[in-house]
Symmetry: C3
């Protein structure tokens, strides 16, 4: 198993996990079968599409590569029809979602850098790649994005993108900086869910959100 193959595998696993979480959320909000497929696709690919638009990589990979749609549709169908799958996949999905978060942040930052953006802009776009899909999901489902008030999420993505880009500047080897970025993101996110860590807030969360 070459590193590149592993990377692709994790990318697809992250796409699956993001689509699955989107479908589960859409299912409980009264969307129909087709609407659930659409939301799953948007959660999985929306962040990458926003990044590609910002760096001028058109058409965006999420739209031009049919495999992303195939994976997100598979995840959505599994989330829709099988209660057993939903229950069995609950833990793996949290795991893959945390892995996907870091991976999307790292790959998003790399792609932005490859398109000639500055370090700061690449970190920013790495984070956007990772959290953009979740923000679009919550906009479509008509609620304040959980990512902006929940357990440490966008911050974990930012950390991963930051380590990837500035580790490069510090001449860390490519494998090491990616491994450290993924590990830090995963650990931050996992611990935040496990111990219900929150960043400070200044007002109670409104009921309807």
């Amino acid at each position: 198993m070459t590193p590149h193959f592993l990377f692709n595998l994790l990318d697809f696993a992250g796409t699956f996990a993001f689509a699955f979480s989107g479908a589960v959320a859409a299912r409980t909000r009264g969307l129909d079968v087709f609407g659930i497929l659409v939301v799953a696709f948007i959660v999985a690919c929306g962040g990458g599409v926003l990044r590609d638009l910002c760096i001028g990589a058109v058409p965006p990979a999420g739209i031009s590569d049919w495999r992303y749609m195939a994976i997100s549709s598979t995840a959505a169908v599994m989330a829709m029809y099988s209660r057993i799958v939903r229950e069995r996949l609950e833990l793996p999905v949290v795991l893959f979602d945390s892995l996907g978060l870091g991976l999307f942040a790292v790959s998003g930052a790399q792609k932005a850098l490859a398109y000639g953006l500055t370090n700061e802009a690449s970190v920013l776009l790495g984070m956007l790649t990772a959290v953009g899909g979740g923000i679009l999901r919550d906009i479509l489902l008509n609620r304040v994005p959980a990512i902006l008030k929940g357990q440490i999420y966008a911050l974990a993505a930012l950390a991963a993108a930051f380590i990837e880009i500035y580790g490069r500047s510090a001449l860390w080897s490519s494998d090491w900086r990616t491994a450290v970025a993924l590990a830090v993101c995963f650990a931050l996110r996992f611990l935040a869910v496990r111990y219900d860590w929150h960043l400070p807030r200044f007002a109670s969360v409104a009921d309807d959100d």
Copy 2:
């Protein structure tokens, strides 16, 4: 009346119908006159703008061609000020909206293909062109997009884009495949409204949406 002129005419009729439906919805949500004009324009042109951004056709046609704004503003003013017009146009608007749906799907898919996208991506962008405006409308009006849970809508647009693109691959003549695509989309949508067809859902629709 050449086919091209007919095509343009239908395009403008679809723009009018989409803008009209947007203005009617915005009017009931407490937006002011200018807000209604904005929402009407976004419903009519938003899907095409999203498509143009994704295929790199900048500036988007909806922004650079003043006729779209003129048509959408005319529709919005008519929807705002005349109750008689609103009542008389109710049926034609449903008809034009269904025609516009298919037409936007077909023309969106054609444009994506002309910009070098693959067949699958062109179908996807055709659907986006047709339903994007309606999704943006519901996001602005703070509700879950009706398109994702209502009577068969996005699916009808997908069918039209699919027939257009794969009819081309199957070497159907240009006129035939467009005619079939529009007819299938229109029939699907018309029957769905007439008989209140819905795709399966898994939860009751929340009251506040």
Copy 3:
């Protein structure tokens, strides 16, 4: 103090004011510290990013120039932590927000024109630059955009962009048309807030918005 320096200064002041207003709004909606930083940045730079995507100026200036992020983060931190600052800055923020509105409209329209767009499209994109951030803020905070129903806002931005672009066609000197555009926008907006002017509406504003 050269005019160009003054222009930059106003641009940054407008960025600060927009970010500040975004942070104040996000703070009361239960977002966490990081979410508030994100919303502040989106309010300050979102309109410009949308404009840059539409004219093909990628990467967008708001993302590639780190000073915008620095300014918006500073404004957000001040809005979050200091009640005294929030109270003392209330009036200046309304002033800067009104100035920023006109300035973003003018600079947005100029940039669109410089990228070869028509006069009409440039006016449209000038308005989008000025009001886009506020619309994105309200979408994220899950409410109908205040800009579309509140005191004259988008219309003031439109007026500024219109005067800038058509003053140019009428061969007004660059300084004069910008000064008039800013003054008209500021006066319209200031008077609208002062005397609670509204454009006509057709329905009462829903409570939940």
